[in-house]
Symmetry: C2
Subunit: 167 residues, 2 copies
């Protein structure tokens, strides 16, 4: 995060990957594993978050997307305050049983806590694509050779949607 | 994982979620963040793994899915030994810049290291769905009220694909 503002982090065109977040996340009171949350119909990946056993149980019981907030150390019923509830359709587990996939159906349009230029809550947290510019191959930090492009905003960025082939 | 075998973990019908894996993963030498890897065409979620800055740089440079193996503490070029290389199409970042989404195109059919009953490498690690049976609501462990169903094996399990509505 490197001291940049929330606005820069969430809306900016510079990459400030929060590499330390995961180490902080596992220091929460509960044992958690990653959960990829995917729209059951469009298959868009909406968020990647964490769940503990309590969250998984509540997800099944309440039939909505329930996660564990590693920053607040509490059960996180997605949309409980925003209204952007994600109905739970299916839960899958990976081969090694160390992550989960929630297939969900958003009750409204949004899943992210941010809003697009139109003022509407974004459907997915992955609204920016990394565009590789290139580097000198020596000791380059990711910040120096990657810029972010907002999806659906091609004219402003000149992006093609095929980032690796652009380099 | 609770002492169960690899075969039980990867092919079994019992849930043995490895809740401790993430804490082990962050103890590797590098700072890593979660990466959801998604098929660029079918949009199937293939794997969820981890990347550090080196892995992200190499992913862009080599234009394939490169991750960081937190167990082996080394760069993990997906498919380098198995041949199941995933060509990199696009990289996205989430709002808070603490996870990545790789959109990839498998060069062959597989992405998981396991094989299905047909002997063919499975396309996705998420080949099992959790089926909620219910519990007594008090101190139940997830193992006690969830069984796993192999996708595409409906006749054996009676699953409907709408787990939460079955309970």
């Amino acid at each position: 995060m490197a001291g940049c503002s929330h606005k820069e982090l969430e809306e900016g065109r510079e990459l400030h990957l929060d590499w330390g977040k995961l180490r902080k996340a596992v220091q929460c009171e509960e044992l958690v594993i990653p959960v990829a949350v995917q729209h059951a119909d469009t298959l868009e990946v909406l968020i990647v978050a964490f769940a503990n056993e309590k969250a998984l149980v509540e997800a099944f019981r309440q039939k909505v997307c329930v996660l564990w907030s590693t920053s607040r150390n509490e059960l996180w019923i997605k949309g409980a305050t925003s209204g952007d509830v994600l109905d739970l359709v299916e839960v899958r587990v990976n081969c090694e049983q160390n992550s989960l996939l929630y297939l969900v159906r958003p009750r409204r349009t949004g899943a992210c806590h941010t809003k697009g230029p139109d003022g509407i809550t974004r459907p997915s947290c992955y609204y920016r694509r990394l565009r590789y510019i290139g580097g000198d191959g020596a000791d380059a930090s990711a910040d120096q050779f990657v810029v972010l492009e907002h999806l659906g905003d091609e004219s402003a960025s000149g992006g093609t949607g095929e980032t690796p082939d652009d380099s």
